[in-house]
């Protein structure tokens, strides 16, 4: 009876919904944003320097249980694949670097750890889970993103590293 009115309302509703959905989906870019952070020795390390290598950025904190559980496995991966052109960067987000250093003294790692105490790089990479692992290919593009860590995730990391190294 009032079908024309109903259709008009449905069109209006669809328009409203589309506008709402488009505001949820942010713009996405595949180029890994560049940054420069202090390392444990005090030197600044930037992402630019690592172009040509396969880079895994692992965002972690000393207060995060799954992050701590993951670290020994990341160390093994780093030792195994760094001769083949792979670099693992631990981006630590502790507000105080001494908290991270205290934990690393008990559980040492050989891969570079950079300190993102002001969360600038975390914001840049829109980190929305702890830990987060970002895989960047030799050309500097973000290819894979892992949120969180559960036992067994490391086999997926290995598959993706091998795939990126082959390119």
């Amino acid at each position: 009876m009032h079908s024309s009115r109903l259709i008009a309302w449905l069109r209006g509703g669809a328009l409203a919904a589309t506008l709402a959905v488009s505001s949820l989906v942010g713009a996405s870019s595949s180029v890994a944003p560049g940054f420069s952070l202090s390392s444990r020795t005090g030197d600044k390390v930037s992402l630019e320097q690592l172009k040509g290598q396969v880079v895994m950025l692992n965002f972690w904190a000393s207060w995060c249980g799954p992050c701590r559980a993951e670290m020994p496995l990341l160390e093994q991966m780093y030792k195994r694949y760094s001769p083949l052109g792979f670099t693992l960067i631990g981006v630590n987000v502790d507000a105080e670097t001494k908290d991270a250093e205290k934990w690393l003294a008990a559980t040492p790692v050989t891969f570079p750890v950079l300190f993102d105490t002001k969360s600038d790089v975390s914001k840049l990479y829109d980190v929305d889970a702890m830990p987060s692992s970002v895989f960047i290919d030799r050309k500097g593009n973000v290819r894979y993103l892992h949120r969180g860590y559960k036992a067994g995730d490391e086999s997926e990391y290995l598959n993706q590293i091998r795939a990126l190294l082959k390119e």
Binding site: G65, P66, D128, G148, K150, A151, G152
Partner: protein, 401 residues
Amino acid sequence: MTLMTATARKLLAAIALSGAAAALTSTVASAGVLPEDRADVLYHRYEGGGVTIHGPSVLVRKKLAEKYSVSANYYMDMVTSASIDVQVSGASEYKEERDQWSVGFDYLRGKTTYTLGYTDSEEDDYHATTASFGLSQDLFGDLTTVSMGFSRGNDTVRRTISNPLNPGARIIDPTFEMDLDRWSYRIGVSQILTKTLIMTLGLETITDEGYLNNPYRAFRYVDPEDATNFRLATEKYPRTRTSNAVALNARYFLPYRAAVFGGYRFFTDSWGIRANTAEVGYVHPFKNTPWTLEASYRFYQQDHADFYSDLFPRIDFQNFMGRDKELSTMDSQTMHIGATYEFGNAGLSFIKRGTFNVFYDRIQFNYDDFRDARDPGLIAGQEPLYEFGANVYQVFVSIWF
């Protein structure tokens, strides 16, 4: 004074277990991560109002396959009681033991944790079992956690009587066995408000059905032959009770690394009881030392149940009559202090860290309409109001592995 029941020794109320069981199984870690593996051994001791209760509580919790966490708790109360109720009834001090076993199972899937729990508590004349189910879900970037739970309990109430073949010894009365069923529903929301502030809101409704009084406890009524005296009769309770509680809690992180917390709970039930509970506390870790101190203050106040009275005018005054001081107009104030010493891994490779803890609570109970009827020389209904203080000690070791 005369007694309706021949001997009424055990007047400490058989304790409702839904509280203890629910506390151990409904406390779920933030969904997304299972609770940590741990073992705790506690010695607890309560002394107050003529009652001493002490014993151990042991908890072990372990993750399996990174998806499940199982826990088991053994708790024991060794009771020696010459409480005011025991004394007023003319009975002598009694000893008793209660054993309680609890098991819990948590399953983590994504951002949801499912929990199952079961508790069994036994003493000579009371057997209680409770089964519970809960689930907890992280939402909104893990800032909000919604949880809900359901428990179902069943208790069997018995009583001991003097052994007719051997007076002085006690046996279970074979003619007396009553049941009690319990349902509990709870929901909760936990919300992170800032980087340093978290708040929780919880609601719980509990319904009991069945034999809700204590077979040893009596109410007082004015002696028809002597108005200055009283007689005792076994209490008469309603067969149902439904209660509702809502609680708000908050915890705030102070910049120099300490925490302050507070909470409020409002309670009402179908027996006419209204209660308010408020608590504030402070936790202070001492920088660069293994020591942490904590202190808190808790205030509790309640109005009496409809059918409660310290002294009824007649034995048949109303349908339901009780004199359990737990249902009277009363308040309690608790001062709590605790010291924790963190001993790292104590050189043992399988321990991540451990703590040694000593807690002390001083609870003062004040009754506004429950009188101290122990002195037979006083006029019934004009005795002084009862009050007592209790000391509660806890010494425990916790290890995380």
